[in-house]
Amino acid sequence: MINEDQFLPFDEEPHWWSDKRAELTLGALVCCVLAVVLAMFVFVLVQAWPSFAHNGLSWFGSGGSVDLQIKRMFLSGEAGVRYVYTFHAWPLIWSTLLIVGSAVTLSLVTSLFVAVFVVEFAPDPIKQVLRPAVRLLASVPSVIYGLLGVLVLVPFIGNHVITQQDKASVSYIVSLSGYSLIAAVLILTVMIAPLMISIFADGLRSVPSSWIEGSLAMGINRWRTFWKIAVRAARPAIVAGTVLATARAIGEAVMLAMVSGSVGFAPNPFDGMIFFFEPSRPLGATILQNIEGLSSPPLKSTLFAIAAVLLVSAMLLSLAGWAAKQPLKRYGTR
């Protein structure tokens, strides 16, 4: 018995949803999304311009205390007579570079090994635990990582790792309380590693098994086979995962605001071990913590300038990832 209703051609769609119109409507919606993103770029850059214009390239340089400069800007904005725009962001940029750079490096190496373990070498019961664990950790909100950092890791570092001697030796410059570079790096690593692992593992799984079997049939051992064939073939996925995780790390404001110490201080690598325990404050966290200062025009412009730096670096990052993927794609699986 054939149900004829299913074969009636034009009855079910209202006539105003003609094909042409549907395509145009969808296309217009896509254009709207493009326009929103374009507007974001333009608005942020326009708002940021006064800050860049007043400081020139020294915006990126060092000089004076950042926190003091922010305070002065805020006060001048409130007074409203003559705006002060002086701002030298190097301590914030340096802190971002240090934290993001070391966290990404650390988690890139770790994630690669863990992903190989998850896909190939783990016994089945461990695999079955690891896969959902990675997914869960990748979706845990950053504020929970921040909370764990603040309530567990930071007190531990402050009370047990930093000695009284260390604290006394720099007490006239910064106070070492556990809110430190190392806490930020460790928590950020734990936060972005699951992202990397899940993307790396997807890439490794999509390597055709015949490639691996071919290598095994030649008598090459499993480790070497996996490392030389699968990991190489999955390089586009590795680049993609790294780019995504780095973007997440650069933009992370909340968690880093909680554990990094929130002092506009540039950690000095020549301080020896104390370097790792010095507090700092990255760019994103600076925006978050001065958000009340939006009422003051010069500070508002400065915050938008920081946002512009973040936005442009995120864009350059995805561009770099795209460029890095092109030559790899030829022999890759994706």
Partner: protein
């Protein structure tokens, strides 16, 4: 006899049956394998530690009454109430964000996968979506405050005289929909592309228009992917803090603006669980760690449930596969 023959018949899974011993490997390979094991087990340990620790803290501090009382200002933790308002805020923000992100995301994915012409626009749209995924949410928040404090959209938030406050559920929901958009687009697109082209051709051959094909055939088949994308999007929305702190005000309670029943809530400020945790952490303004732990535990539970749903949907979706 028979069983032996049968055993030979069943093919062993690829390189599972005979696991070679690593004792004959070169030392560097063995070291590599050892590192692999150590890091893998270490990662397991960290994951288990985080979950168990949050579970213990949650059981210690979560009381049912916390879920049903509004937060109030007070001097110690017994006076400050629960987190009903942040809980409601989380749900409202997630609903509002998805109400915008889901239709737009599905539409963009359909256009990209089914139309995608002119080619240049499709490429631009693809890279734009990718770029939204990489944009820090704090930047989105700043952009949001710029947009929503302009007088043109003043009706979406609290206003006093000519000053538009710019912070409301509308503002936060709109910006968070951008956070969820790339996930929905990506997942939906993957689902649409997994449908073989002969399905489309068959539908066109019986006289359906292209749009009818999309609406009646393709989207229903891609539903599991759409739902997965939506769940992931909700997960990102309820986990975001920066946008909430900046655009929702992170106030103690829900402060409606105006008198219309639902509209006043959406035009007003409030908070979500994430901003509640942020404010109650030792670095925040309130500093009540037990409340923060309790709220974080509830948040973690929500994320866990979402993850389980994604798993469930993915498993269901696998059952319906097309013949090639």
């Amino acid at each position: 006899m028979v069983t032996e023959v049968l055993k030979q018949e069943t093919r062993p899974p690829a390189h599972k049956g005979a696991v070679e011993s690593s004792s004959t490997w070169r030392r560097s390979d063995r070291v590599g394998l050892a590192v692999c094991w150590v890091l893998g087990i270490g990662f397991c340990a960290i994951a288990v530690a985080i979950v168990v620790f949050m579970l213990v803290q949650g059981i210690k501090y979560v009381r049912p009454s916390l879920l049903f009382t509004s937060p109030t200002a007070g001097f110690n933790e017994s006076q400050t109430g629960g987190f009903l308002d942040p809980l409601v805020g989380t749900v409202v923000v997630a609903l509002l964000g998805m109400a915008i992100a889901l239709p737009v995301g599905v539409a963009v994915a359909v256009w990209l996968s089914e139309y995608g012409r002119p080619f240049g626009l499709a490429r631009a749209a693809e890279s734009t979506i990718e770029m939204i995924a990489g944009t820090p949410s704090i930047v989105l928040a700043l952009f949001g405050i710029l947009v929503f404090s302009s007088p043109v959209v003043g009706f979406l938030s609290r206003t006093s005289g000519h000053v538009v406050y710019g912070r409301s559920f509308f503002a936060a929901g709109a910006m968070l929909s951008l956070v969820a958009l790339p996930l929905i687009v990506g997942s939906t697109r993957e689902g649409l592309q997994a449908i073989p082209s002969h399905v489309r051709e068959a539908s066109l051959a019986v006289g359906k228009t292209k749009f009818a094909t999309i609406r009646r055939i393709l989207l229903p088949s891609a539903r599991p992917s759409v739902v997965t994308g939506a769940m992931l999007g909700v997960g990102r929305i309820i986990g975001d803090t920066a946008v909430i702190v900046v655009l929702l005000g992170a106030t103690l309670t829900l402060n409606g603006a105006g008198h219309a029943p639902v509209l006043s809530l959406l035009r007003g400020t409030g908070s979500t669980l994430t901003s509640f945790v942020y404010e109650n952490a030792p670095t925040g303004e309130a500093n009540q760690p037990t409340k923060a732990y309790a709220a974080a535990f509830v948040l973690l539970l929500m994320v866990l449930v979402l993850n389980l749903c994604v798993d469930l949907v993915a498993r269901r979706g696998k059952a319906a596969t097309w013949s090639r």
